[in-house]
Symmetry: D2
Subunit: 489 residues, 4 copies
Amino acid sequence: MFLNSPMQADFNQEDQGLHEECGVFGVYSQDGALDPAYSCYNALLAIQHRGQESCGIAVNNNGLISYHKDMGLVSEVFRPRMLESLKGQIGIGHVRYSNEKDNVRENAQPLMMRYVKGALALSYNGTLTNAHELKHELQRRGSIFQTTMDPEIISYLIARERRKTPSIEEAVLQVMPQLRGAYSMLIMSPQKLIAVRDPHGFRPLCIGKVEQSYVVASESCALDAVGADFVRDIEPGEVVVFDRNGLRSLKADTKVQKSSCIFEYIYFARTDSVIDGVSVYAARKESGRLLARQHPVEADMVIGVPESGIDAAIGFSEESGIPYEKGIVKNGYIGRTFIKPTQSERERSVRIKLNALSHAVKGKRVVLLDDSIVRGTTSARIVKMLKDAGAAEVHLRISSPPFLWPCYYGTDIPSRDNLVACKHTIEEIAGITGADSLGFLELDSLKDIIHSDGTGFCDACFSGNYPAEIPEHLLTGQSDRYCQPLEHL
Amino acid sequence: MFLNSPMQADFNQEDQGLHEECGVFGVYSQDGALDPAYSCYNALLAIQHRGQESCGIAVNNNGLISYHKDMGLVSEVFRPRMLESLKGQIGIGHVRYSNEKDNVRENAQPLMMRYVKGALALSYNGTLTNAHELKHELQRRGSIFQTTMDPEIISYLIARERRKTPSIEEAVLQVMPQLRGAYSMLIMSPQKLIAVRDPHGFRPLCIGKVEQSYVVASESCALDAVGADFVRDIEPGEVVVFDRNGLRSLKADTKVQKSSCIFEYIYFARTDSVIDGVSVYAARKESGRLLARQHPVEADMVIGVPESGIDAAIGFSEESGIPYEKGIVKNGYIGRTFIKPTQSERERSVRIKLNALSHAVKGKRVVLLDDSIVRGTTSARIVKMLKDAGAAEVHLRISSPPFLWPCYYGTDIPSRDNLVACKHTIEEIAGITGADSLGFLELDSLKDIIHSDGTGFCDACFSGNYPAEIPEHLLTGQSDRYCQPLEHL
Amino acid sequence: MFLNSPMQADFNQEDQGLHEECGVFGVYSQDGALDPAYSCYNALLAIQHRGQESCGIAVNNNGLISYHKDMGLVSEVFRPRMLESLKGQIGIGHVRYSNEKDNVRENAQPLMMRYVKGALALSYNGTLTNAHELKHELQRRGSIFQTTMDPEIISYLIARERRKTPSIEEAVLQVMPQLRGAYSMLIMSPQKLIAVRDPHGFRPLCIGKVEQSYVVASESCALDAVGADFVRDIEPGEVVVFDRNGLRSLKADTKVQKSSCIFEYIYFARTDSVIDGVSVYAARKESGRLLARQHPVEADMVIGVPESGIDAAIGFSEESGIPYEKGIVKNGYIGRTFIKPTQSERERSVRIKLNALSHAVKGKRVVLLDDSIVRGTTSARIVKMLKDAGAAEVHLRISSPPFLWPCYYGTDIPSRDNLVACKHTIEEIAGITGADSLGFLELDSLKDIIHSDGTGFCDACFSGNYPAEIPEHLLTGQSDRYCQPLEHL
Amino acid sequence: MFLNSPMQADFNQEDQGLHEECGVFGVYSQDGALDPAYSCYNALLAIQHRGQESCGIAVNNNGLISYHKDMGLVSEVFRPRMLESLKGQIGIGHVRYSNEKDNVRENAQPLMMRYVKGALALSYNGTLTNAHELKHELQRRGSIFQTTMDPEIISYLIARERRKTPSIEEAVLQVMPQLRGAYSMLIMSPQKLIAVRDPHGFRPLCIGKVEQSYVVASESCALDAVGADFVRDIEPGEVVVFDRNGLRSLKADTKVQKSSCIFEYIYFARTDSVIDGVSVYAARKESGRLLARQHPVEADMVIGVPESGIDAAIGFSEESGIPYEKGIVKNGYIGRTFIKPTQSERERSVRIKLNALSHAVKGKRVVLLDDSIVRGTTSARIVKMLKDAGAAEVHLRISSPPFLWPCYYGTDIPSRDNLVACKHTIEEIAGITGADSLGFLELDSLKDIIHSDGTGFCDACFSGNYPAEIPEHLLTGQSDRYCQPLEHL
């Protein structure tokens, strides 16, 4: 209705999902139970969903650090001879998501650098809210920057503090109070592996173990991939050092409330991961169950938008007693290089990435579970596809509250101008999407899906309740970009 | 127990699934409603599951035929400039599966050839059981062969018959009685598109329509991908000609019983396809329902091995009332180039391609649905993974009968020596897989999943009841190979 | 003057040189003195100047033939692992030149084929003048064609004759009388290597030996590259068979006069090759000496257009006593993928591929030796470049007579419309090129540069005196093309 | 004799030539007479001989800097769309040579960096002798290093000085006194192009002009490639600023004697370049003439080892009256990826890269001109090749004095242990090479080939007379390496 052609808007904005920055993985294997390079490879495959733009692996090697990194998927970047060549006892890996402007080879991680005490490699997941101020101050003192990544800033701060401290971990502890925002990171020297989670614990980070070898990962599914047993989550503000003496835990001197990202459960994380003691799959099923109670509807079947919507649909089905069905199939062969249809082909090519199971939905009243609504255009496409496939009714249930606020801690949410919930009532959104009814998860219920007392997590994108400061320069729109490599031409 | 180390056998035999040869797609668009190249591209993405080794697209072009084909996935082989350059009104595409020995660039299709009447392109899905005899006879008359593909043989036969017939379709009709075995194929001349399905109708082939433009596809999901409406399946023994006069149906002079491959429903086809009037999804759900009746069990949850096992699990859950859960997650980022773990890493890397949802299955009695058991090693790995993840019991239910016989019509089944069901009782197989109980779908029930009266389909791999002759040379082991290109080094 | 802007015409017609089709190399090494794959690799590098579009190597391998071939230079197509994998006692290789329309992967050689008696590989250099008739006749009998290469035709003829003859070499002898035109080719079966030179001996072919191993090559410089000693040239109409009994010579039953291509000496061959007993370098120097006598001029220095012009310049200098100098430098880094300047950049970029040595030529009267004039535009560019660099006078001397006739035996000469000598007097050509004087080698002198009595060579492109029939279809412009692969997009 | 198998030593040390680091090119085109990207492309092709490992181009772009750089040749790294995308008025380019350990993508130039005043790009040719000390001091102050390149050090120094100076060029002038060693470099900001040549003027750098646009290049042959007129060489210690006000010359406050590298004339530079007023071709011919006087010999012909040996041979021929001939042919198709022969193939493959013109040298007394002798093994191979080809005598004449000392200013000379002249008399070297006589250019004659009074150039590698300090750490063998990327696996 008031959105003239949602299908076209959708195509112009093809990749409109919500994204987070990166996944990290580290190994410390003194007993040789794990090969660092092969372990990183398998683990990065397991967390590839956290970033598909670039990836890399670094291992220690007789006092030096050997590495390989490049643009592309893990399966594209690494070949057998590389893994064979990357020999060592310690290793870190990285998969990177990036928005378009930073999607360049220079930003591939691990970041490799040499400072006064030797070589370091850094793998980083997060967003500093005071990056601009820190960078400006460093430049004022004569620093130069060759990338646009936060870990380059952190490297300078570590290099500066390291001159005054007896160890790299001490330097890290001195640096942490200077940092604002979200960061889960791994630092590797030729002798040590250091894992750091920011005081708010925005991004996940957990420890696993195989015999006497340790691994650290953004998500526990990576532990499974290397055959490691889950040990524990790293705590907000904690610094864990792995060296020849085993594992040591240090704590940064910060007094902030834990506020881990609730959206990890709703969308980012893999369904088989467990974060801070809560199963992602269980949280998603619970959101479906809550929706069945909050927004019940008479229907013939419950279906989910792959992948996260499926988990919520199973929960909704269990709670409501309406049978769960597979109603939408996702094509796993649509790669990063998908050739978009021309204008004249667009209308016909709605069923390429997702296809409705016409046989199943025809003539049926369908409850459709999805994880979120951003612009509304994707939901509109899916509802239309189901109705074209013969669905009698489509009742849309969203396993999160409406998006209302930008995220300053790493989630790539569009500006408020583009958030459909900022400009429209829920009823209007139902109209825009074409759904026969629409229900969002209530804001208050977020705590229930992770069995929280209402504290310990960040829901700012829904509530506007920011647990950490908002960066000044983001409000004023200043940029730190300086150069524009030509990649992929 | 008697299989010493099933895990290792599994890794030595990494790709042990059952495979079929190829998918085809064609367009005839006189009214310009479809762009042949873009349509082929989107359709081939939709049937990419039928073959990932090579792919190609050919379009007519002012009396000539333009094409591009190569080794690799559709998303790897085609770039925007190619699609732009492939202009025409008619197009055919192909995705190819091949066993190792034929996995060479020369065998990529469509096959392009010139004969006395001009140029032809062929896309082919099938296996001739008398290929060896036909080839030998052709060579005896002076023919040379540059590939190891059946369509090269068919091209010669068409070229020979075409000299005596007034049209290409007449020549095809003359050739069909000479062919034995399975073939669904598309033949494109600069003026016509001809679709052919063998008299047994082993492989699927269906027609769709967009305005006045026609498409033909191996599976109906490809019709959805180009926005076409389903018209009908091509009948066994039917030759459909698309030209400026529209669509014309001819019938080969053969009197054989239809015997379409039952395994298309069980495994090959995409769940959202409808073949010969039967929904693949419905057939799979029905097999799950039947299993629940034939092999009931007390349990806490039903889960499926992705992807086809999930559909059967939903059916089993519905019939049994045991809740459906997601118990296994499949990693979609494991590509064709996955680097296998070294011997020392193998034991630990069982949870890379598939991972158990430990949180869900821990302490639970699980019914596990899978589509088939070949060697038994994959099933053993999955059962072990679930038990390692804490499952209290694992009851394996297979949505097909035991594999006992080789397939001569295109399915790449290992020799009887490697089929676990040829050497072991069901009880023994349960032991080999480690399952607490094991149930196969009864042979008699196959007809029920496709609502048949017991005729019209081929179940030879389960029953040994071959609807068409068995090729002599396959029994004697002669080979037509002659040269060995070095690819991928 | 009358050609308004020769510089622009030149750029529109960037690649305007004269070309020949292909180079071949073969090894028969029963004693293992040579590794077939490595020998082919080194030899193909040595004859790469004969063709840069595609290349390939095939070796025998336990009754089969293994091969690798692709578009690109030898250094681009082969990697160490390939050479290691290509194990055998017999091998043939190929480098291919092609004009634009046939520049496709399918045409890469060796051609691999299987016929009634087993597998064959063919490497071919030549042009059949009756290809069209042969192809048409074969198609009429039911043959299909998958390439546009002559060796595919020859393969059919061999396959047909082989049914009636006791050996492959007997079949070749039966085929030869059916062929018209130029062909030097190598045929490899898993047991034999057969070398064939057409009765006119248009293209060169010679034999070398290392211990008890034999090699055959288009040019003797390839013998040097593998450390082989020159044995002898293969005679026109000769068929040489290499098998376990050593070397055997057969002779086709044809009675034609030898007429080897004179242009091999002037342009095609590498200066260090010796063809039919005559050194290419010596022939070029002699042409320079003759020019010094036929078109003497007062000047300060003699320079040559790299590469063949340099040899002639040395001869001119010796005969005239005018000092030889390096006056033009060629940039060896301009590859096949050179990015052409935009229209606005063209005038300035004349000195990229060739540069004048300003310091040497400034103020000097220069004699400039080049091998030929086709359109005149390249000569005009070079003369202008020298004058811009300060040359006081430029006297152009061409080491061949004016091009007046098309070549039907493999040399890619433009149509008469584009041959400057067909439309202009020598005086006018001098004006077009901007040279202060111009002299061509006299037609009568051709025999002198190869010390001939005036017979035994073909100079049809200069004289119009064709030693073999002119193909009918070339005059009428019919084409055998049928499909258009999209490469390099 | 005492060197048991020089051929083998040679192959183990395949790439034993002398190398220099890099070539630079810059454009400032306010009037648009030159397109910066296309000009850089053509110019880099012209100076590709100065470095083949990596290359890059950066252009200014609305206050930012756009760039592309990668490992590989200019013809491999750049594609048309890139040049089209690199739009601006200012541009700099770089081709890089590197010894094995630094041959990594991170070191590709131009170096891109952002500092307090904005963005800079640097292209650099040289070697700082105090790099180690500068780096150590910068690290002590908290700097981090991401490459192993000198320009990263210089960037820090500029960033530090720039805080106290009103302009980038002032900062450069403050930095220069801190630098020791050789450096010719270009610095580009979004507004300016700055060219700097070190006070000794070790490496060349010259200015050209097209209409109102300026270019700067390592060698004048790059000026020819873009159609620019030579303006002048940049003087040692000079800083030239190109901005909207035109060209401005500043002078660093250093008082050292000019000492440009004599080896540029002997080996590095392209023969058509003119450096500091002296033609490279003329210098080489002069060295040949001097050798003819210093080491006369009776012979039948003079030949040269391509390329630089040819120029000297022409000079030797002129002076001695012995005819110049082409005696050795170089294969231009041997690329960077040449597959080396196996041990068993080595002896036979001596004539791959270079081949003797047997026909010309057979039975002749040959004077062979080459530019230098390092280990002696290459010379031994060439002499042996000529004798194998039938040369009666080979008299080796070297157009430089014996190498006796390491170079600290950029030339990649092996350690003294590997320099044959450090351990053997000239007579012994003649024996090692197999030459019938051997003559080196006299040390005193170096001044004559560039018409110098004996000052103004550096001949330390021959004389041990170092014009600038020798770096301490090079003597002690400390390394700045820290990480080892895996490239090219």
